[in-house]
Amino acid sequence: MIINHPILGPRDSQEFTYLGDAALIDRPDWQAENAADQFHDYLYLRDNPAGEHRELWFHEQGDRSWLVVTRNTVTHEILTVELARDVARARGRSK
């Protein structure tokens, strides 16, 4: 596969390490009342869709950016590629 890196352009997927569902960005608040349940769901309950999937890829053999790649798991078509940092900020993460 070829991943169109937002900074570096098209790169072979061999340069990347795959992590999984981009929902891993949404790490729960440790002080929430039901933090243990939230962390459980965060860690163990993932969707495994046949179709569009937002997932995390690490450009380990490259610039070390974490990317959020929206990929169709059936066709392997890649729809968007974003810097995970931008996605995380957009989802309200900060420090």
Partner: protein, 1008 residues
Amino acid sequence: MTDAILNAGTVAFQADGSTGARKGVQVNRLDGGLIKGSKALTFTFDGKRYKGFEGDTLASALLANGVRLMGRSFKYHRPRGVLTSGSEEPNALVELRSGGRQEPNTRATTAELYDGLEANSQNRWPSLKHDFMAVNDRFSNFLTAGFYYKTFMWPAAFWEKIYEPIIRKAAGLGSISFEDDPDAYDKGFLHCDLLVIGSGPSGLMAALTAGRAGAQVIIADEDFLLGGRLNAETFGINDLTGSAWVEQVQAELAALPNVRVMPRTSIIGAFDHGIYGAVERVADHVLAPEAGKPRQILWRIYSKRALLAAGATERPIAFENNDRPGVMLAGAVRAYANRWAVTPDQSVAVFTNNDDGHRTAADLIAKGVKVTAVIDTRPDAPKVDGAELFAGAQVIDTQGRLGLETVRLRLANGATRDVPCGALAVSGGWNPNVHLTCHQRGRPAWREDIAAFVPAGTLPQNMSVAGAANGDFSTAAALRAGAEGAVAALSDLGIDAKAADLPAAEDAPVNVTPFWYVKEGKGRAWLDQQNDVTVKDVKLAHQENFRSVEHLKRYTTLGMATDQGKTSNMGGLAIMAELAGKQIPEVGTTMFRPPYTPVSFGVMAGRSVGEEFRPTRKTPSHKWAEEQGAEFVEVGQWLRAQWFPKAGETHWRQSVDREVLQTRNSVGICDVTTLGKIDVQGKDAAAFLNKMYANAFAKLPVGKVRYGLMLREDGIAYDDGTAARFAEDHFVVTTTTANAVLVYRNMEFARQCLFPDMDVQLISTTEAWAQFAVAGPNARKLLQKVVDPEFDISNEGFPFMACGEITVAGGCRARLFRISFSGELAYEIAVPTRYGDALLRKLMEAGEEFGAVPYGTEALGVMRIEKGHAAGNELNGTTSALNLGMGRMVSKKKDCIGNTLSEREGMNREDALKLVGFKPVNAADPVPAGSHLMNADGEVSAATDQGYITSAAYSPVLGCAIGIGFLKRGDARLGEVIRAVNPLEGKEVQVEVVSAHFVDPEGERLRG
């Protein structure tokens, strides 16, 4: 590609002037062809010497020499000859070459002849003509479809000792030499606008059109000659012969710098996003690769557009005993005659259900070969000149020992007739080569008018198909489709191309009446000759309800092995459709998967073999350690010194014990560069590390080091190390050697995905710094001789867990850490990697007066076990901070990775495993690592398991074996005597539970 072969078409054999000389003992050699008759090549088959010509394949040369018998079938060991003239060949598989270069299961039809080629037949003993295992053929009733599943079942005890060895011995075709392959294989990457797969009329027109438009073009063909069927047919293009037109196009392509022509290159798979795999056979056609050249190259081709022009494969008709050597595909017989000037025999009959078969008869007659009959299943078959036609007739049986002698016909009027012939050219129609179109999600569709599957569904991204591969079987249609396909593909890319002028060519319609198998006869009619699958086997599969094509394939093995059923699948599924009362498209095809043709393991491995299998990382002290005669051990990719033997030491334990004792008594030095190092900088560096480590880091003072434990988000401990604070906004973190990459990856994940606004930057500096542990009571005295005098490293000035930036040896930049893995007064000193070797030599020189020793990973391990320090064996992916005795370190006052889930009930059980030490009750006993712990009395079972020993060593300090490990409620059981058991080996040792801190439990030495 050599010019000689490219030009073979025009040179032809006339150069040598004499038909007689050319023929020699090549009894079946004809006139003409694209071989170079002036150059005789000598080769051997099963030890016998033969002659052939440049441009021959092994198969064409053997046929020329009158050799029809080329192999034995897989299951029944039936004598077999060549069926085809290309990569679809199921029968003529041979072992090529010998010694380290021996290669089994290579197809004689694609093996290019060279002088000195050595080939041997396979799957026969003692010889091809007299094969002992041919007895299997007599027992064929027991070896039908599914025999694997029905036989060898009982008694169960027979499986391992009797059935399996017999099956293993009988299975497989060729053999390997077990010698190392002396040749190199490479991998490479190519990029293009348009990849053209196949160089027949479509492919050449596409390449020409795209090449002239200035696009970056790659045209690849598995053959060593470009041209595809144009080399095998007699019809011309414009006023040229097909092969002469090919040469003309090839000359133009060669002159275009933007076109890369790749003969001998098989496209083996269509992968995601326009990426194709290709194998180029660089040196399979010569005796040995030229110096410095690889035998083969595995290419990864990145294409913007691809045009599949892979042609079509002829399919046979099944009838009784249709597997005798001499029964061949009609298109192959024609190719041998026209391209290689060879006939399989001097008298040939033709059996066909379509007009194309008649071309074989006409071409052979034109070459002076006697055609004894043309048998056409169609009552309305077209007329034939020069041979007797049997319209509406079928071949119902064949005779001949080790080769065809006669065929028996059932005539239209019901009579039988025996026709003598040494070869039978069979045509059941042509199947477009749709394989690559299906490598993603394409599923072919049935086209009634040509009685064949054509590409359909979702093709691989940006692939289009032209010519026979798309069901356009006439030359004119193929030429047009190639040119138009290239224009369309380039137009997608914004390149304006003009279709090359279409030359005049034949445009015959396809005229075929589907005919899959002859129903008459009780004997076996072969579908898949490679796997010995017959029409009967398909019927049996149907009867036993294995009716889906995928079941049919696996139950009967139809279409498996090296040819992947290129000539047999279609017949099998047509018969299944008939039996199931379905239409062929309802039955469908099995999945086509890469590779298109077999690929050698060598080219898959490329250069990654032996020592080059993965990178070897050497420590900065490697050279010095080699000079000392160190034994090395692989630790991940690293080579580390394991111990340093001294003269007179005959056992590794002597060396290791000495290294441990000398370190504990005076001073020892160890290269610890392999530990991961991560430089953490930024205003939020401390806050960031506070998130990474389970224990608190925010308040670590500048100039201090702290031990840190990292958890996974599920609360399991996964790495430990130290973080040294050199400035408010600057830390240096160490990780274990094994997890250096993972910890860095996880830290980047946290930095970018979880805490994107933290002001923190990370760099992996593992390779940037050489680091040595200097440990033992004399460590400070030794270092004081090396560290520049303005730096105070006294116990007061530089206490336990201090760190600082210093200089050594008169100004060399260095970092000093007062940390101890050995439990001794110890330091770790780091210098830029390029000074590592010099620093070590200086340290050893300075240490001479103390008898300083270098120590390796074994002594390091012994000392850490003596101190009860956890390492990889203890951080084994199942243990928590609580198990490790560090439960209280996990801060509950902050957020860090893993702390929330580490509080789960199941991880905090009252009877949790705790890290403790073990000593044998009988001091002479070993403490075997991996042993399970059981109470002093009672049964030994999983239910009574109390824990396990993770690490063990002989402690030269204590004079006995010791171990550490996890024991239920271990911290409350000190002094108890329990059993360490190894039920697999029937061993049991009594051990006493002790503190894991065997040496200096109060930690006085490291603070001294």
